[in-house]
Symmetry: C2
Subunit: 335 residues, 2 copies
């Protein structure tokens, strides 16, 4: 029985932010399921900043070929299987992409552990590779946060930022979040429990960070880059601060002209480190990360509010929302 698949593909490249007419939508049947493959009905897609970097030639992630389905991570349920180890009804995580049905080798998918009242959507949420696990790895494995640290988080109201704020609080740190607008700042303080929220759209961030952290920043988790990275460098603690470079959403629209941190010599002056990370390079620590996050969820100390966009036809619009900052928490598309 063929599966009708509706998919969103890239029609044309563009310098700068993508626009709606760079995307096309079409429907086609998945008829044959080769041996070793399965068909997955896509349940939820994780809207991640890295997707943007596949839409321009020459960027870090492999560029999407014109006509190809926009790549995205997601969870879904197997509806047909020609592979050992996966059966219809199984829930999986993988690169399901912007479509309603994905035909993929079973080897490219991870079967979800739904014990202990975990739900499929947790795997694009608090336990997601690009959300909760990225936050845990950057904050704990890379930046080695300690109780008593002062932690600064940029993009704090996004999916990764929301998790970082809560994980840092759970580890006993003092947390300063930066986000855009009073509503997001209220979310940081009231929903996530941040100690201080700085509204970069309406406040002087440099003054805000300096006054919120008179003793300096021990850990900076950066999702944004640009001026905010320089402000963090300028406000590093006198010694041994750690910066985790998770992303630089302020710079993705013009990767040929990235603003480098002019204050990087503060690293040398203050015996500090700036560390990038590829979350999958830290896979050895995923079991520890998952156990900690799952237990914090159970205790009610970690939650990740969702902003859900319904319908695969709205995928492109949701992607643009990610860059306009028009969401709070975890931006998801449900085809």
């Amino acid at each position: 029985m063929p599966h009708a698949n509706r998919r969103v593909f890239i029609k044309q490249y563009r310098e700068g932010l993508p626009a709606l007419d760079d995307f096309g939508i079409e429907e086609a049947d998945i008829a044959d399921v080769p041996a070793g493959h399965v068909v997955v009905k896509v349940d939820t897609l994780s809207m991640d900043a890295w997707i943007r970097t596949t839409l321009t030639p020459g960027s870090f992630h492999e560029t999407a070929a014109l006509g190809s389905t926009i790549r995205a991570l997601g969870v879904g349920q197997v509806v047909e299987s020609a592979a050992d180890g996966l059966a219809a009804g199984d829930w999986v995580f993988g690169l399901l992409s912007a479509q309603t049905h994905a035909l993929l080798p079973a080897a490219a998918l991870t079967k979800l552990d739904l014990s202990n009242s975990l739900e499929p959507r947790d795997y694009v949420g608090p336990l997601g590779l690009t959300t909760g696990l990225t936050a845990w790895v950057g904050l704990i494995a890379v930046a080695e946060v300690h109780g008593g640290d002062t932690v600064l988080v940029s993009g704090a109201a996004g999916a990764v930022g929301s998790m970082v704020v809560q994980l840092a609080k759970a580890r006993g740190a003092r947390v300063i979040g930066i986000a855009g607008g009073p509503e997001k700042c209220r979310y940081l303080l009231e929903t996530l429990g941040a100690d201080v929220a700085i509204d970069y759209k309406n406040a002087d961030v440099a003054a805000g960070v300096a006054s919120a952290a008179p003793g300096g920043i021990d850990v900076f988790f950066d999702n944004v880059g640009g001026e905010i990275l320089d402000i963090a460098l300028e406000n590093l603690a006198p010694a041994n601060a750690r910066i985790a470079i998770c992303g630089a959403i302020s710079q993705y629209s013009d990767m040929g002209n990235v603003r480098g941190p002019a204050k990087y010599l503060r690293l040398a002056e203050r015996n500090a480190a700036m560390k990038g990370f590829v979350v999958t390079h830290h896979a050895a620590r995923f079991p520890e990360a998952k156990a900690e996050i799952a237990s914090l969820m159970e205790e009610g100390k970690v939650r990740l509010p969702e902003h859900v966009v319904d319908g695969i036809d709205n995928f492109a619009e949701a992607l643009l929302l990610l860059f306009s900052g028009g969401h709070t928490g975890n931006l998801l598309v449900r085809p």
Copy 2:
């Protein structure tokens, strides 16, 4: 008996590189030696890039007051003592500054260990805080070099760079040095044993690094900053590379307009770290560093050629030489 002291002081501040007429010279007697103090006859001064940063207001190191003696580290011999623990004839290391005689509290000085045929000048050379120890800490404690690593060193023909090249070779790394001019490149290859030398004045550094390190750079020890730092970032190994930020001599003349590394997102893409360091923060490892360097000196595997400028009146000229790259190896002034 008063000691006639001839000293070099700062007459005026200047944006950009200092010029000879920013410095004055005068002679004055040291008559009184307060309790706890000693008079040191300065033997040799270490010409370090950080000195430059004391000559402009607002830079990292405390700015020298107009009229004050230019700060510099050095070794010398006690000629009069009003302190317990130091006697005339003892050799010491400390902030002796640009003068022939220094009046200092004994507590600010370190008595030299001259056992095992070590000489006073070794303490502003292979064992110097700002030379050999800085090289060891950056390469070994901070960048954690391993045998088999490909190591790139900028400013490789300077005092720190020369030590880094030799220490990395002794630890079993492959070493690529960057320096200015064919003579310095010959020095890297023939005197220090570097595997590859790149002449930034006459060659395309980006092409040179890419072809010398097709598998990428595991460790970059940076003394220079600017474009070379971006080239190193662009050529980092696919994973786990370490950059030690020791200095940025290319940027010190205009610290208000430092060029930040536009390629810093390679850190995130390649799971790499960029670490600054303050050498004294790693003092716990100095005994290990000194033992390793002294033993390599004894085996003839490490030497640090000197470029000696004689006469305290030539101090300012020597300082400018440091920034014009007009020396090879360890630039010293002997008052």
